[in-house]
Protein backbone atom coordinates (compact mmCIF):
# COMPACT_ATOMS: atom_id res chain seq x y z
CA UNK A 1 0.00 0.00 0.00
CA UNK A 2 1.43 3.35 -1.07
CA UNK A 3 1.50 6.37 1.20
CA UNK A 4 0.40 9.55 -0.57
CA UNK A 5 1.42 12.80 1.11
CA UNK A 6 -0.48 15.99 0.31
CA UNK A 7 1.06 19.36 1.14
CA UNK A 8 -1.67 22.03 1.04
CA UNK A 9 -5.21 21.00 1.99
CA UNK A 10 -7.30 23.39 -0.07
CA UNK A 11 -9.82 22.59 -2.79
CA UNK A 12 -7.36 20.54 -4.86
CA UNK A 13 -5.44 18.83 -2.05
CA UNK A 14 -8.62 18.07 -0.13
CA UNK A 15 -10.37 16.67 -3.22
CA UNK A 16 -7.38 14.45 -4.06
CA UNK A 17 -7.54 13.04 -0.53
CA UNK A 18 -11.29 12.49 -0.66
CA UNK A 19 -11.06 10.83 -4.08
CA UNK A 20 -8.21 8.50 -3.03
CA UNK A 21 -9.98 7.54 0.21
CA UNK A 22 -13.27 7.05 -1.68
CA UNK A 23 -11.39 4.83 -4.13
CA UNK A 24 -10.18 2.72 -1.21
CA UNK A 25 -13.73 2.17 0.00
CA UNK A 26 -14.97 1.05 -3.42
CA UNK A 27 -12.45 -1.73 -3.75
CA UNK A 28 -12.95 -2.99 -0.22
CA UNK A 29 -9.29 -2.77 0.74
CA UNK A 30 -7.53 0.58 1.01
CA UNK A 31 -5.36 1.36 -2.03
CA UNK A 32 -3.65 4.40 -0.57
CA UNK A 33 -2.75 5.66 2.84
CA UNK A 34 -3.16 9.46 2.71
CA UNK A 35 -1.33 11.85 5.00
CA UNK A 36 -1.51 15.61 4.72
CA UNK A 37 -0.16 18.90 5.93
CA UNK A 38 -1.40 22.49 5.81
CA UNK A 39 0.07 25.52 7.54
CA UNK A 40 -3.45 26.39 8.76
CA UNK A 41 -4.36 24.24 11.83
CA UNK A 42 -8.11 24.55 11.22
CA UNK A 43 -7.67 23.14 7.73
CA UNK A 44 -5.70 20.19 9.13
CA UNK A 45 -8.51 19.56 11.58
CA UNK A 46 -11.20 19.89 8.92
CA UNK A 47 -9.35 17.62 6.47
CA UNK A 48 -9.10 14.89 9.10
CA UNK A 49 -12.72 15.41 10.17
CA UNK A 50 -13.89 15.03 6.56
CA UNK A 51 -11.59 12.00 6.16
CA UNK A 52 -9.76 13.59 3.25
CA UNK A 53 -6.64 12.29 5.02
CA UNK A 54 -5.94 9.38 7.32
CA UNK A 55 -3.64 11.66 9.28
CA UNK A 56 -3.06 15.42 9.22
CA UNK A 57 0.42 16.08 10.50
CA UNK A 58 1.62 19.25 12.18
CA UNK A 59 5.00 18.79 10.51
CA UNK A 60 5.43 19.25 6.77
CA UNK A 61 8.78 17.46 6.93
CA UNK A 62 7.19 14.40 8.53
CA UNK A 63 4.76 14.09 5.61
CA UNK A 64 7.60 14.57 3.11
CA UNK A 65 9.65 11.86 4.80
CA UNK A 66 6.87 9.27 4.93
CA UNK A 67 5.33 9.74 1.48
CA UNK A 68 5.92 7.39 -1.45
CA UNK A 69 4.14 9.95 -3.64
CA UNK A 70 4.31 13.55 -2.44
CA UNK A 71 1.80 15.98 -3.96
CA UNK A 72 2.45 19.71 -3.62
CA UNK A 73 -1.07 21.14 -3.81
CA UNK A 74 -0.21 24.75 -2.98
CA UNK A 75 -0.57 27.89 -5.11
CA UNK A 76 2.16 28.06 -7.74
CA UNK A 77 4.25 30.73 -5.99
CA UNK A 78 4.39 28.65 -2.80
CA UNK A 79 5.69 25.58 -4.68
CA UNK A 80 9.19 27.05 -4.86
CA UNK A 81 9.55 27.48 -1.09
CA UNK A 82 8.03 24.06 -0.36
CA UNK A 83 10.46 22.41 -2.80
CA UNK A 84 13.36 24.12 -1.01
CA UNK A 85 12.04 23.08 2.41
CA UNK A 86 11.46 19.42 1.59
CA UNK A 87 14.50 18.85 -0.65
CA UNK A 88 16.89 17.56 2.05
CA UNK A 89 14.23 15.36 3.67
CA UNK A 90 12.54 13.30 0.94
CA UNK A 91 13.78 9.79 0.31
CA UNK A 92 15.47 9.31 -3.10
CA UNK A 93 12.69 6.92 -4.17
CA UNK A 94 9.87 9.34 -3.32
CA UNK A 95 7.99 10.58 -6.36
CA UNK A 96 7.24 14.30 -6.12
CA UNK A 97 4.57 16.09 -8.12
CA UNK A 98 2.56 19.33 -7.94
CA UNK A 99 -0.84 20.63 -9.11
CA UNK A 100 -0.02 24.21 -10.08
CA UNK A 101 -1.48 26.04 -13.08
CA UNK A 102 1.84 26.77 -14.82
CA UNK A 103 4.53 24.15 -15.37
CA UNK A 104 7.79 25.49 -16.83
CA UNK A 105 8.61 27.57 -13.75
CA UNK A 106 7.81 24.64 -11.47
CA UNK A 107 10.00 22.22 -13.45
CA UNK A 108 12.88 24.71 -13.34
CA UNK A 109 12.53 25.11 -9.58
CA UNK A 110 12.43 21.34 -9.11
CA UNK A 111 15.62 20.95 -11.15
CA UNK A 112 17.29 23.75 -9.21
CA UNK A 113 16.15 22.94 -5.68
CA UNK A 114 15.73 19.15 -5.38
CA UNK A 115 18.78 16.97 -4.80
CA UNK A 116 20.36 15.32 -7.87
CA UNK A 117 18.47 12.16 -8.76
CA UNK A 118 15.24 13.28 -7.09
CA UNK A 119 12.11 12.10 -8.91
CA UNK A 120 9.80 14.92 -10.01
CA UNK A 121 6.93 14.99 -12.53
CA UNK A 122 4.80 18.10 -12.90
CA UNK A 123 1.04 17.75 -12.70
CA UNK A 124 -1.99 19.90 -13.49
CA UNK A 125 -5.59 18.71 -13.09
CA UNK A 126 -7.86 20.67 -15.49
CA UNK A 127 -10.55 21.05 -12.85
CA UNK A 128 -11.05 22.98 -9.69
CA UNK A 129 -11.27 26.69 -10.19
CA UNK A 130 -12.05 28.79 -7.17
CA UNK A 131 -13.04 27.38 -3.82
CA UNK A 132 -11.49 26.09 -0.64
CA UNK A 133 -11.48 22.92 1.44
CA UNK A 134 -15.22 23.35 2.15
CA UNK A 135 -15.85 22.90 -1.57
CA UNK A 136 -13.61 19.84 -1.93
CA UNK A 137 -15.30 16.65 -3.08
CA UNK A 138 -14.26 13.24 -4.30
CA UNK A 139 -15.75 13.80 -7.78
CA UNK A 140 -13.90 17.03 -8.55
CA UNK A 141 -11.63 15.34 -11.12
CA UNK A 142 -14.17 12.95 -12.60
CA UNK A 143 -13.70 12.89 -16.38
CA UNK A 144 -11.22 15.79 -16.29
CA UNK A 145 -7.94 15.85 -18.16
CA UNK A 146 -4.96 15.66 -15.77
CA UNK A 147 -1.70 16.87 -17.32
CA UNK A 148 1.45 14.91 -16.55
CA UNK A 149 4.53 16.99 -17.32
CA UNK A 150 7.81 15.05 -17.18
CA UNK A 151 9.94 17.43 -19.27
CA UNK A 152 10.43 21.10 -19.94
CA UNK A 153 10.34 21.11 -23.75
CA UNK A 154 8.94 18.81 -26.46
CA UNK A 155 12.47 17.91 -27.62
CA UNK A 156 13.90 17.30 -24.14
CA UNK A 157 16.33 14.38 -24.15
CA UNK A 158 15.90 13.53 -20.45
CA UNK A 159 15.54 9.80 -19.87
CA UNK A 160 11.83 9.39 -18.92
CA UNK A 161 11.23 7.83 -15.50
CA UNK A 162 8.79 5.17 -16.74
CA UNK A 163 7.99 3.77 -13.32
CA UNK A 164 7.16 7.25 -12.09
CA UNK A 165 4.86 7.88 -15.04
CA UNK A 166 3.05 4.58 -14.43
CA UNK A 167 2.66 5.37 -10.73
CA UNK A 168 1.25 8.81 -11.53
CA UNK A 169 -1.10 7.48 -14.23
CA UNK A 170 -2.48 4.89 -11.83
CA UNK A 171 -3.05 7.58 -9.23
CA UNK A 172 -4.74 9.89 -11.75
CA UNK A 173 -7.05 7.09 -12.87
CA UNK A 174 -7.88 6.49 -9.19
CA UNK A 175 -9.02 10.13 -9.06
CA UNK A 176 -11.37 9.44 -11.97
CA UNK A 177 -9.35 11.69 -14.30
CA UNK A 178 -7.62 11.06 -17.62
CA UNK A 179 -3.82 11.41 -17.72
CA UNK A 180 -2.35 13.43 -20.60
CA UNK A 181 1.41 13.52 -21.11
CA UNK A 182 2.61 16.93 -22.24
CA UNK A 183 5.81 18.98 -21.95
CA UNK A 184 5.89 22.14 -19.86
CA UNK A 185 6.32 24.62 -22.71
CA UNK A 186 3.43 23.22 -24.73
CA UNK A 187 1.29 23.07 -21.58
CA UNK A 188 2.00 26.67 -20.62
CA UNK A 189 1.37 27.94 -24.16
CA UNK A 190 -1.95 26.06 -24.41
CA UNK A 191 -3.33 27.02 -21.00
CA UNK A 192 -2.26 30.62 -21.61
CA UNK A 193 -4.60 30.51 -24.62
CA UNK A 194 -7.62 28.72 -23.17
CA UNK A 195 -7.45 29.85 -19.57
CA UNK A 196 -5.07 32.72 -18.76
CA UNK A 197 -5.91 34.92 -21.77
CA UNK A 198 -9.69 34.41 -21.25
CA UNK A 199 -9.25 35.45 -17.60
CA UNK A 200 -7.50 38.67 -18.65
CA UNK A 201 -10.07 39.46 -21.35
CA UNK A 202 -12.88 38.91 -18.83
CA UNK A 203 -11.21 41.10 -16.19
CA UNK A 204 -10.60 43.85 -18.78
CA UNK A 205 -14.23 43.57 -19.93
CA UNK A 206 -15.55 44.04 -16.41
CA UNK A 207 -13.22 46.97 -15.75
CA UNK A 208 -14.19 48.63 -19.05
CA UNK A 209 -17.90 48.35 -18.43
CA UNK A 210 -18.28 48.54 -14.66
CA UNK A 211 -16.50 51.86 -14.31
CA UNK A 212 -19.00 53.56 -16.64
CA UNK A 213 -21.51 56.23 -15.57
CA UNK A 214 -24.25 53.98 -16.93
CA UNK A 215 -23.45 51.11 -14.59
CA UNK A 216 -26.75 51.32 -12.68
CA UNK A 217 -28.73 51.05 -15.91
CA UNK A 218 -26.47 48.24 -17.13
CA UNK A 219 -27.19 46.29 -13.94
CA UNK A 220 -30.85 46.24 -14.90
CA UNK A 221 -30.10 45.17 -18.46
CA UNK A 222 -27.33 42.61 -17.90
CA UNK A 223 -28.39 38.99 -18.24
CA UNK A 224 -26.78 35.58 -18.80
CA UNK A 225 -24.59 36.77 -21.69
CA UNK A 226 -22.61 39.20 -19.59
CA UNK A 227 -22.60 36.79 -16.66
CA UNK A 228 -20.94 34.03 -18.69
CA UNK A 229 -18.59 36.31 -20.60
CA UNK A 230 -17.26 37.75 -17.33
CA UNK A 231 -17.33 34.65 -15.13
CA UNK A 232 -13.58 34.00 -15.14
CA UNK A 233 -13.07 37.49 -13.66
CA UNK A 234 -14.59 36.07 -10.45
CA UNK A 235 -11.54 33.81 -10.05
CA UNK A 236 -9.12 34.05 -7.12
CA UNK A 237 -7.03 37.23 -7.70
CA UNK A 238 -3.96 35.83 -5.92
CA UNK A 239 -4.03 32.65 -8.01
CA UNK A 240 -4.22 34.62 -11.25
CA UNK A 241 -1.48 37.01 -10.10
CA UNK A 242 0.82 34.02 -9.55
CA UNK A 243 -0.18 32.58 -12.91
CA UNK A 244 0.59 35.91 -14.60
CA UNK A 245 3.98 36.09 -12.92
CA UNK A 246 5.00 32.53 -13.83
CA UNK A 247 3.58 32.42 -17.37
CA UNK A 248 4.16 35.99 -18.47
CA UNK A 249 5.84 35.26 -21.81
CA UNK A 250 3.18 32.91 -23.18
CA UNK A 251 0.37 35.12 -21.93
CA UNK A 252 1.94 38.20 -23.54
CA UNK A 253 2.22 36.45 -26.90
CA UNK A 254 -1.47 35.48 -26.81
CA UNK A 255 -2.48 38.93 -25.57
CA UNK A 256 -0.68 40.50 -28.53
CA UNK A 257 -2.34 38.11 -30.96
CA UNK A 258 -5.68 38.94 -29.36
CA UNK A 259 -5.09 42.70 -29.55
CA UNK A 260 -4.22 42.37 -33.25
CA UNK A 261 -7.38 40.33 -33.85
CA UNK A 262 -9.53 42.91 -32.05
CA UNK A 263 -8.00 45.70 -34.13
CA UNK A 264 -8.93 43.72 -37.24
CA UNK A 265 -12.48 43.32 -35.93
CA UNK A 266 -12.61 47.08 -35.34
CA UNK A 267 -11.57 47.72 -38.94
CA UNK A 268 -14.20 45.33 -40.27
CA UNK A 269 -16.79 47.08 -38.12
CA UNK A 270 -15.81 50.47 -39.57
CA UNK A 271 -15.86 49.18 -43.14
CA UNK A 272 -19.02 47.05 -42.94
CA UNK A 273 -21.85 48.08 -45.23
CA UNK A 274 -24.09 45.03 -45.04
CA UNK A 275 -22.99 44.10 -48.54
CA UNK A 276 -19.39 42.96 -48.33
CA UNK A 277 -20.26 40.35 -45.65
CA UNK A 278 -16.77 40.31 -44.10
CA UNK A 279 -18.26 40.73 -40.61
CA UNK A 280 -20.78 37.97 -41.24
CA UNK A 281 -17.99 35.66 -42.43
CA UNK A 282 -15.99 36.39 -39.28
CA UNK A 283 -18.95 35.74 -36.97
CA UNK A 284 -19.74 32.47 -38.77
CA UNK A 285 -16.12 31.36 -38.48
CA UNK A 286 -16.05 32.13 -34.75
CA UNK A 287 -19.19 30.10 -34.18
CA UNK A 288 -17.83 27.13 -36.14
CA UNK A 289 -14.37 27.26 -34.56
CA UNK A 290 -15.85 27.36 -31.07
CA UNK A 291 -18.08 24.38 -31.79
CA UNK A 292 -15.12 22.40 -33.13
CA UNK A 293 -13.03 23.20 -30.09
CA UNK A 294 -15.68 22.16 -27.59
CA UNK A 295 -17.32 19.18 -29.27
Amino acid sequence: MQTVGILGLGLIGGSIGLALKGQSTHTGSPAYRVIGYDSDPSRRQQAQHRRAVDLASEQMIEVAQQADVLILATPVLAVRQVLADIAPHVRPTTLITDTASTKAAVLRWARELLLPGARFIGGHPMAGGTGSLEDAHSNLFLGATYCLVPSLAPDADDEPDKDALITMERLIVALGAQPLRIDAETHDRCVAAISHLPFLTAAALVETVATSDDVEMMRQLASSGFRDASRLAAGDPAMYESIALTNREAITLWLDAYLARLQAVRQLLQAAQGEDEALLTLFKAARQHRQKMLE
Copy 2:
Protein backbone atom coordinates in the same frame (compact mmCIF):
# COMPACT_ATOMS: atom_id res chain seq x y z
CA MET B 1 -60.41 42.31 -25.85
CA GLN B 2 -57.36 43.63 -27.67
CA THR B 3 -56.02 42.05 -30.83
CA VAL B 4 -52.25 41.64 -30.79
CA GLY B 5 -50.62 41.17 -34.18
CA ILE B 6 -47.17 39.57 -34.36
CA LEU B 7 -45.07 39.95 -37.51
CA GLY B 8 -42.27 37.37 -37.45
CA LEU B 9 -42.93 34.04 -35.71
CA GLY B 10 -39.46 33.07 -34.52
CA LEU B 11 -38.23 32.54 -30.97
CA ILE B 12 -39.36 35.99 -29.76
CA GLY B 13 -42.60 36.31 -31.73
CA GLY B 14 -43.60 32.73 -30.96
CA SER B 15 -42.84 33.11 -27.26
CA ILE B 16 -44.85 36.35 -27.05
CA GLY B 17 -47.80 34.53 -28.59
CA LEU B 18 -47.47 31.55 -26.26
CA ALA B 19 -47.12 33.81 -23.20
CA LEU B 20 -50.16 35.92 -24.13
CA LYS B 21 -52.30 32.86 -24.86
CA GLY B 22 -51.07 31.20 -21.65
CA GLN B 23 -52.03 34.36 -19.77
CA SER B 24 -55.51 34.11 -21.26
CA THR B 25 -55.91 30.57 -19.97
CA HIS B 26 -54.86 31.51 -16.42
CA THR B 27 -57.48 34.18 -16.02
CA GLY B 28 -60.26 32.04 -17.43
CA SER B 29 -61.28 34.54 -20.08
CA PRO B 30 -59.00 35.44 -22.97
CA ALA B 31 -57.21 38.77 -22.45
CA TYR B 32 -55.77 38.98 -25.93
CA ARG B 33 -56.64 37.73 -29.37
CA VAL B 34 -53.34 36.94 -31.08
CA ILE B 35 -52.88 36.91 -34.83
CA GLY B 36 -49.56 36.40 -36.55
CA TYR B 37 -47.69 36.42 -39.84
CA ASP B 38 -44.41 34.97 -41.02
CA SER B 39 -43.06 34.87 -44.57
CA ASP B 40 -42.27 31.17 -44.03
CA PRO B 41 -45.48 29.06 -44.48
CA SER B 42 -44.16 26.21 -42.29
CA ARG B 43 -43.63 28.64 -39.42
CA ARG B 44 -47.17 29.93 -39.82
CA GLN B 45 -48.43 26.37 -39.67
CA GLN B 46 -46.28 25.50 -36.66
CA ALA B 47 -47.26 28.66 -34.77
CA GLN B 48 -50.92 27.85 -35.21
CA HIS B 49 -50.35 24.19 -34.33
CA ARG B 50 -48.58 25.17 -31.08
CA ARG B 51 -51.35 27.73 -30.39
CA ALA B 52 -48.87 30.59 -30.25
CA VAL B 53 -51.48 32.42 -32.36
CA ASP B 54 -55.24 32.18 -32.69
CA LEU B 55 -54.79 32.72 -36.40
CA ALA B 56 -51.74 32.71 -38.67
CA SER B 57 -52.51 34.84 -41.68
CA GLU B 58 -50.99 34.53 -45.13
CA GLN B 59 -51.15 38.32 -45.48
CA MET B 60 -48.92 40.60 -43.46
CA ILE B 61 -51.15 43.55 -44.34
CA GLU B 62 -54.22 41.78 -42.97
CA VAL B 63 -52.52 41.36 -39.59
CA ALA B 64 -51.38 45.00 -39.64
CA GLN B 65 -54.91 46.18 -40.39
CA GLN B 66 -56.58 44.13 -37.65
CA ALA B 67 -54.12 44.64 -34.80
CA ASP B 68 -54.69 47.02 -31.90
CA VAL B 69 -51.08 46.36 -30.89
CA LEU B 70 -48.72 45.36 -33.70
CA ILE B 71 -45.42 43.75 -32.67
CA LEU B 72 -42.61 43.60 -35.23
CA ALA B 73 -40.62 40.56 -34.05
CA THR B 74 -38.21 40.37 -36.98
CA PRO B 75 -34.42 40.78 -37.03
CA VAL B 76 -33.46 44.45 -36.78
CA LEU B 77 -32.54 44.89 -40.46
CA ALA B 78 -35.95 43.57 -41.55
CA VAL B 79 -37.80 46.06 -39.34
CA ARG B 80 -37.17 48.88 -41.82
CA GLN B 81 -38.84 47.12 -44.74
CA VAL B 82 -41.75 45.91 -42.63
CA LEU B 83 -42.36 49.46 -41.37
CA ALA B 84 -42.42 50.71 -44.98
CA ASP B 85 -44.78 47.90 -46.03
CA ILE B 86 -47.31 48.36 -43.23
CA ALA B 87 -47.21 52.19 -42.99
CA PRO B 88 -50.16 52.90 -45.34
CA HIS B 89 -52.30 50.10 -43.87
CA VAL B 90 -52.30 50.45 -40.08
CA ARG B 91 -55.14 52.30 -38.42
CA PRO B 92 -54.11 55.62 -36.76
CA THR B 93 -55.00 54.19 -33.35
CA THR B 94 -52.88 51.05 -33.74
CA LEU B 95 -49.90 50.94 -31.38
CA ILE B 96 -46.77 49.67 -33.15
CA THR B 97 -43.73 48.26 -31.39
CA ASP B 98 -40.72 46.07 -32.19
CA THR B 99 -38.37 43.67 -30.36
CA ALA B 100 -35.03 44.40 -32.04
CA SER B 101 -31.67 44.55 -30.25
CA THR B 102 -30.83 48.14 -31.19
CA LYS B 103 -33.25 51.02 -30.83
CA ALA B 104 -32.01 54.35 -32.24
CA ALA B 105 -32.02 53.08 -35.84
CA VAL B 106 -35.50 51.60 -35.39
CA LEU B 107 -36.92 54.81 -33.91
CA ARG B 108 -35.45 56.83 -36.79
CA TRP B 109 -37.00 54.45 -39.35
CA ALA B 110 -40.36 54.64 -37.60
CA ARG B 111 -40.27 58.44 -37.67
CA GLU B 112 -39.26 58.42 -41.33
CA LEU B 113 -41.54 55.69 -42.67
CA LEU B 114 -44.77 55.69 -40.64
CA LEU B 115 -47.50 58.23 -41.43
CA PRO B 116 -47.59 61.39 -39.31
CA GLY B 117 -49.39 60.73 -36.05
CA ALA B 118 -48.68 56.98 -36.09
CA ARG B 119 -48.11 55.52 -32.62
CA PHE B 120 -44.76 53.80 -32.20
CA ILE B 121 -42.83 52.75 -29.08
CA GLY B 122 -39.63 50.76 -29.38
CA GLY B 123 -39.29 47.55 -27.39
CA HIS B 124 -36.50 45.15 -26.45
CA PRO B 125 -36.99 42.11 -24.21
CA MET B 126 -33.68 41.24 -22.48
CA ALA B 127 -34.19 37.53 -23.06
CA GLY B 128 -34.10 35.15 -25.94
CA GLY B 129 -30.71 34.75 -27.48
CA THR B 130 -30.38 32.19 -30.20
CA GLY B 131 -33.06 29.76 -31.21
CA SER B 132 -36.10 29.55 -33.44
CA LEU B 133 -39.81 28.86 -33.13
CA GLU B 134 -39.09 25.32 -31.91
CA ASP B 135 -37.41 26.83 -28.84
CA ALA B 136 -40.23 29.30 -28.14
CA HIS B 137 -41.97 28.93 -24.79
CA SER B 138 -44.38 30.92 -22.68
CA ASN B 139 -41.83 31.46 -19.87
CA LEU B 140 -39.11 33.00 -22.05
CA PHE B 141 -39.64 36.48 -20.60
CA LEU B 142 -40.36 35.48 -17.01
CA GLY B 143 -38.54 37.88 -14.70
CA ALA B 144 -36.67 39.52 -17.60
CA THR B 145 -36.30 43.24 -18.08
CA TYR B 146 -38.27 44.47 -21.12
CA CYS B 147 -37.10 47.86 -22.41
CA LEU B 148 -39.76 50.33 -23.51
CA VAL B 149 -38.24 53.04 -25.68
CA PRO B 150 -40.55 55.96 -26.44
CA SER B 151 -37.91 58.53 -27.42
CA LEU B 152 -34.59 58.81 -29.18
CA ALA B 153 -32.61 60.78 -26.60
CA PRO B 154 -32.86 61.38 -22.84
CA ASP B 155 -33.70 65.03 -23.38
CA ALA B 156 -36.28 64.45 -26.16
CA ASP B 157 -39.20 66.85 -25.86
CA ASP B 158 -41.74 64.66 -27.66
CA GLU B 159 -45.05 64.54 -25.87
CA PRO B 160 -45.15 61.02 -24.35
CA ASP B 161 -48.10 58.89 -25.48
CA LYS B 162 -49.19 57.89 -21.99
CA ASP B 163 -51.98 55.58 -23.11
CA ALA B 164 -49.54 53.74 -25.36
CA LEU B 165 -47.04 53.33 -22.52
CA ILE B 166 -49.77 51.96 -20.24
CA THR B 167 -50.95 49.54 -22.93
CA MET B 168 -47.38 48.32 -23.49
CA GLU B 169 -46.64 47.99 -19.78
CA ARG B 170 -49.77 45.91 -19.28
CA LEU B 171 -48.77 43.66 -22.17
CA ILE B 172 -45.21 43.29 -20.83
CA VAL B 173 -46.51 42.35 -17.39
CA ALA B 174 -48.75 39.78 -19.10
CA LEU B 175 -45.55 38.26 -20.56
CA GLY B 176 -44.15 37.94 -17.01
CA ALA B 177 -41.48 40.58 -17.71
CA GLN B 178 -40.64 43.88 -16.04
CA PRO B 179 -41.04 47.05 -18.13
CA LEU B 180 -38.16 49.53 -18.03
CA ARG B 181 -38.55 52.94 -19.71
CA ILE B 182 -35.36 54.08 -21.38
CA ASP B 183 -34.42 56.31 -24.32
CA ALA B 184 -32.88 54.83 -27.45
CA GLU B 185 -29.42 56.39 -27.09
CA THR B 186 -28.97 55.24 -23.50
CA HIS B 187 -30.31 51.80 -24.41
CA ASP B 188 -27.95 51.39 -27.34
CA ARG B 189 -24.94 52.59 -25.34
CA CYS B 190 -25.72 50.22 -22.46
CA VAL B 191 -26.41 47.10 -24.52
CA ALA B 192 -23.29 47.83 -26.59
CA ALA B 193 -21.38 47.50 -23.30
CA ILE B 194 -23.04 44.47 -21.76
CA SER B 195 -23.97 42.51 -24.87
CA HIS B 196 -22.45 43.68 -28.17
CA LEU B 197 -18.90 44.28 -26.90
CA PRO B 198 -18.85 40.92 -25.03
CA PHE B 199 -19.94 39.19 -28.24
CA LEU B 200 -17.07 40.78 -30.17
CA THR B 201 -14.52 39.97 -27.46
CA ALA B 202 -15.72 36.36 -27.40
CA ALA B 203 -15.59 36.05 -31.20
CA ALA B 204 -12.08 37.56 -31.25
CA LEU B 205 -11.00 35.20 -28.46
CA VAL B 206 -12.17 32.15 -30.40
CA GLU B 207 -10.53 33.34 -33.60
CA THR B 208 -7.24 34.07 -31.78
CA VAL B 209 -7.07 30.68 -30.13
CA ALA B 210 -8.78 28.33 -32.56
CA THR B 211 -6.52 29.18 -35.49
CA SER B 212 -3.44 28.09 -33.54
CA ASP B 213 -1.28 25.07 -34.40
CA ASP B 214 -1.94 23.81 -30.86
CA VAL B 215 -5.69 23.63 -31.33
CA GLU B 216 -5.85 19.83 -31.01
CA MET B 217 -4.03 19.94 -27.67
CA MET B 218 -6.19 22.86 -26.53
CA ARG B 219 -9.32 20.82 -27.26
CA GLN B 220 -8.14 18.28 -24.70
CA LEU B 221 -7.34 20.96 -22.13
CA ALA B 222 -10.32 23.31 -22.56
CA SER B 223 -12.94 23.10 -19.85
CA SER B 224 -15.80 25.19 -18.47
CA GLY B 225 -13.74 28.39 -18.29
CA PHE B 226 -13.19 28.61 -22.03
CA ARG B 227 -16.72 27.38 -22.70
CA ASP B 228 -18.30 30.22 -20.71
CA ALA B 229 -15.86 32.89 -21.88
CA SER B 230 -16.62 32.06 -25.53
CA ARG B 231 -20.33 31.23 -25.29
CA LEU B 232 -21.58 34.46 -26.87
CA ALA B 233 -19.55 33.62 -30.00
CA ALA B 234 -22.08 30.84 -30.60
CA GLY B 235 -24.76 33.47 -31.25
CA ASP B 236 -26.54 33.90 -34.58
CA PRO B 237 -24.01 35.52 -36.97
CA ALA B 238 -26.68 37.32 -39.01
CA MET B 239 -28.25 38.80 -35.88
CA TYR B 240 -24.90 40.09 -34.67
CA GLU B 241 -24.05 41.46 -38.10
CA SER B 242 -27.26 43.48 -38.08
CA ILE B 243 -26.54 44.64 -34.53
CA ALA B 244 -23.05 45.73 -35.57
CA LEU B 245 -24.42 47.64 -38.56
CA THR B 246 -27.12 49.46 -36.57
CA ASN B 247 -25.12 50.20 -33.41
CA ARG B 248 -21.68 50.78 -34.88
CA GLU B 249 -20.89 54.07 -33.10
CA ALA B 250 -21.63 52.90 -29.57
CA ILE B 251 -19.87 49.58 -30.14
CA THR B 252 -16.78 51.33 -31.52
CA LEU B 253 -16.56 53.60 -28.47
CA TRP B 254 -16.69 50.60 -26.13
CA LEU B 255 -14.27 48.64 -28.27
CA ASP B 256 -11.77 51.50 -28.06
CA ALA B 257 -12.19 51.74 -24.28
CA TYR B 258 -11.67 47.98 -24.08
CA LEU B 259 -8.55 48.06 -26.26
CA ALA B 260 -7.08 50.82 -24.07
CA ARG B 261 -7.88 48.79 -20.95
CA LEU B 262 -6.22 45.69 -22.42
CA GLN B 263 -3.12 47.69 -23.30
CA ALA B 264 -2.98 48.84 -19.68
CA VAL B 265 -3.30 45.23 -18.52
CA ARG B 266 -0.44 44.32 -20.85
CA GLN B 267 1.74 47.01 -19.32
CA LEU B 268 0.96 45.84 -15.78
CA LEU B 269 1.80 42.29 -16.85
CA GLN B 270 5.18 43.43 -18.18
CA ALA B 271 5.96 45.49 -15.08
CA ALA B 272 4.71 43.02 -12.44
CA GLN B 273 7.31 41.74 -10.01
CA GLY B 274 5.11 40.17 -7.35
CA GLU B 275 5.91 43.10 -5.07
CA ASP B 276 4.12 46.12 -6.48
CA GLU B 277 0.74 44.33 -6.40
CA ALA B 278 -0.78 46.42 -9.21
CA LEU B 279 -1.94 43.26 -11.01
CA LEU B 280 -3.43 41.87 -7.80
CA THR B 281 -5.27 45.14 -7.21
CA LEU B 282 -6.69 45.03 -10.74
CA PHE B 283 -7.85 41.41 -10.42
CA LYS B 284 -9.49 42.16 -7.05
CA ALA B 285 -11.26 45.18 -8.52
CA ALA B 286 -12.55 43.14 -11.47
CA ARG B 287 -13.93 40.48 -9.15
CA GLN B 288 -15.66 43.06 -6.97
CA HIS B 289 -17.05 45.09 -9.86
CA ARG B 290 -18.48 41.99 -11.50
CA GLN B 291 -20.16 40.91 -8.28
CA LYS B 292 -21.69 44.37 -7.83
CA MET B 293 -23.00 44.38 -11.39
CA LEU B 294 -24.65 40.99 -11.14
CA GLU B 295 -25.95 40.91 -7.56
